[in-house]
Symmetry: C2
Subunit: 413 residues, 2 copies
């Protein structure tokens, strides 16, 4: 497996593009994106679990019910959520517009929106931009970059990637892009993510592979505990790689999942690093829990804690807050057997053992925590008889900073 260039355009059979159509009235940024497959693709998607779902989520879920997708059209600057029946009609119209330009049914188009909630979507702007959008499509990295720019809101970095692996003797490629910076909390897919692959794979296995990969990547990400109304992760498989079609579990499927999960984790880390206002990427690792689900719940509780997040911002080795957050995770463990280490490129340091303080150098701890990527390693230290066990999980998050408050204190104006 190796990283390659090109993003969603790296796999065979895909083009992408992005333009500015005027949804972001006060800015000169791109706001309308399209990813187009040359042929109908096998598709799978996961959507937000928020009970309040954006019109785009409702329409995409309906359109993807058959597992076939030809294109995804996405806008930024407006979430088209809480917009009533008018918003639903606008989302349907977006799909129809894309279908009309390329002469295929609207049902083969997925729709995504991101931006402010509760403001009617300016569908006329999208309609007026369709010709430019079609003209912007390319099959190389520039199309990927333009589409990626067009789905960004408070994102400060472009978050995409691609890789190549071998399945059944054929070179198979995966490409992806995500947007997401705030309103991010692990609960299904908590952002927008579009992934392409040229693998040949059955719809059932594509769906299974996506769910498994998302469970171990995007669903282990938290920025601020707010699960968005608009989240979706979509994968489209063109089959153009020429691999023996993946139609049952086995070596081919495992290679596929490994590559998909690797790409998803890369994109997840990129989102954590670009969390709203974030200055540090925080990785929380829990080992020795009763099972993986318990480890995940404990790690999420730590990564979600406002007090842990502000301590990371301040490079303060306040491990007591880590234990506190473990304690309210709703999972059984023995507080008197917990060990905590802080780690980064600057080294690692043990700060707590058996749930009690160990002497450590505050200076060294601070140096470790001043790095841009830091890790909190939690070992529940129990394996025999008691509550501990082999469960482990990694969760990603970021620090809580002045800039988070600034960005969200006045988002709409």
């Amino acid at each position: 497996m190796r990283e390659i260039e090109g993003g969603v355009c790296a796999p065979k059979g895909f083009r992408a593009g992005g333009i500015r159509c005027g949804i972001k009235a006060s800015s000169s940024k791109r706001d309308l994106a399209l990813i187009l497959a040359d042929t109908p693709c096998t598709a799978a998607a996961v959507f937000t679990t928020n009970r309040v779902k954006a019109a785009s989520v409702l329409v995409s879920r309906e359109h993807l019910a058959q597992g076939i997708c030809r294109a995804v059209i996405a806008n930024s600057g407006n979430a088209n959520a809480c917009t009533g029946s008018e918003g639903l009609a606008a989302a349907r119209r977006m799909a129809a517009l894309a279908g009309r330009v390329f002469a295929f049914p609207a049902e083969q188009v997925a729709v995504a929106s991101t931006g402010v909630i509760g403001v009617p979507l300016p569908i006329a702007a999208i309609e007026g931009g369709m010709d430019d959008l079609a003209a912007s499509l390319t099959a190389d990295a520039s199309g990927h970059e333009a589409a990626l720019e067009a789905i960004m809101t408070t994102d400060t970095r472009k978050k995409g990637g691609a890789l190549e692996t071998e399945i059944g003797g054929a070179a198979v490629r995966f490409g992806g892009m995500v947007k997401g910076s705030g309103m991010i909390h692990p609960n299904m897919a908590t952002m927008l993510g579009f992934i392409t692959t040229d693998a040949a794979i059955s719809r059932e296995l594509l769906d299974r592979a996506l769910r498994r990969s998302v469970a171990r990547s995007f669903n282990r990400l938290t920025v601020d505990g707010d699960t968005s109304t608009n989240d979706m992760v979509l994968v489209m498989a063109s089959g153009a790689a020429g691999n023996p079609p993946i139609e049952k579990e086995g070596a081919g499927y495992e290679a596929f999942v490994e590559a998909l999960e690797t790409l998803c984790v890369k994109l997840t880390r990129a989102m954590a690093r670009d969390g709203e206002g974030a200055s540090r990427l925080l990785t929380v690792t829990v080992r020795g829990a009763v099972d993986e689900a318990a480890a995940e719940a404990l790690a999420k509780s730590v990564a979600s804690s406002s007090l842990v997040k502000t301590a990371c911002f301040g490079a303060d080795a306040n491990w007591g807050r880590v234990l506190c957050a473990l304690g309210y995770a709703g999972v059984s463990f023995d507080p008197e057997k917990v060990a905590v280490r802080f780690a980064s490129a600057a080294g690692d340091i043990l700060v707590c053992r058996k749930g009690a303080p160990v002497p450590f150098s505050e200076e060294k701890a601070r140096k470790i925590l001043l790095e841009e990527e830091i890790e909190i390693r939690i070992d529940l230290e129990t394996s025999s008889g008691g509550l501990g066990g082999p469960g482990e999980a990694v969760v990603w998050g970021c620090d809580l900073t002045y800039d988070y408050v600034k960005i969200n204190g006045d988002y709409r104006t």
Copy 2:
């Protein structure tokens, strides 16, 4: 029922005091408090649900098992949590010291600690301060004030109160104090709270009354989603008021609960107003849910949302974030029937009806949200047949500000 002065010293039979013994090494603030009853009191308490419990919580739970309490000794500046067997010994020693000075068993003393986690409690400082502490006791408001000061950490305001009501022809008084500013989230008692009353009441009914009052006050408060390791709310009833003892449910019990709940709500609002870094008190009211528990879950989700909290800080009428937070509360409701109003002393304004936008004056909304106490009123607007119903609940919180980040970015130094 009327408000009176004197705090925990207002009811008959209580004295209080507070001194500086040196736990807060870098400050000249008081850090050791005592509330003493003239006679053994009937007592009830609720404790943190965090699995990581401070030594003070473990010892107090043990000592209060018989429902009898004579004194509570409390320190600030050190939480005595995650401090191992040494910490447990220190907490027992605190109780024993108080018992020895006044010649009653250590088992009649409750212990509370608040401050930094994971640092050994300097028990010698407490021991050295015991004579001064005993000398500081008074039966008037000054003792209440001194004790209250001595339990504060990041609190910026003293949060206490007292009221008088009539039960069975006798004037009965209630007094209370709380500390709590950060690490506050509804889950049992999420702070320190000491309440005194001179009512005569059975242990069983005192316990029932406390649980009911806490459920509708302190457990409906959130500052930052972090449930502390040290929380407790303790009520001591001296019986000195001369009311007919409350030994079964009925008018006397109802009057008792009404007064206790009123005091708890007052103290809860004071804590929300003094949330770490807070500039505004936020009240979230949900009506028309299936039941009270559903209404509470929905209101808590809104009050806990970092995005709602930052919008309140920015006086931004971003109601879409309110709907988003309702949507991930894990409770069924119909998103298309939700109405949202913002209200304060400056007026009120409807911003969302049937889950969709209604035109409103941004200027007026901003004026409303610039007040120090603001309310988000959510009506699920359903009563017939569907998911809605008579359930309503009020939850208290505060905005999320730069100062929260500042306070917690470097708490220990």
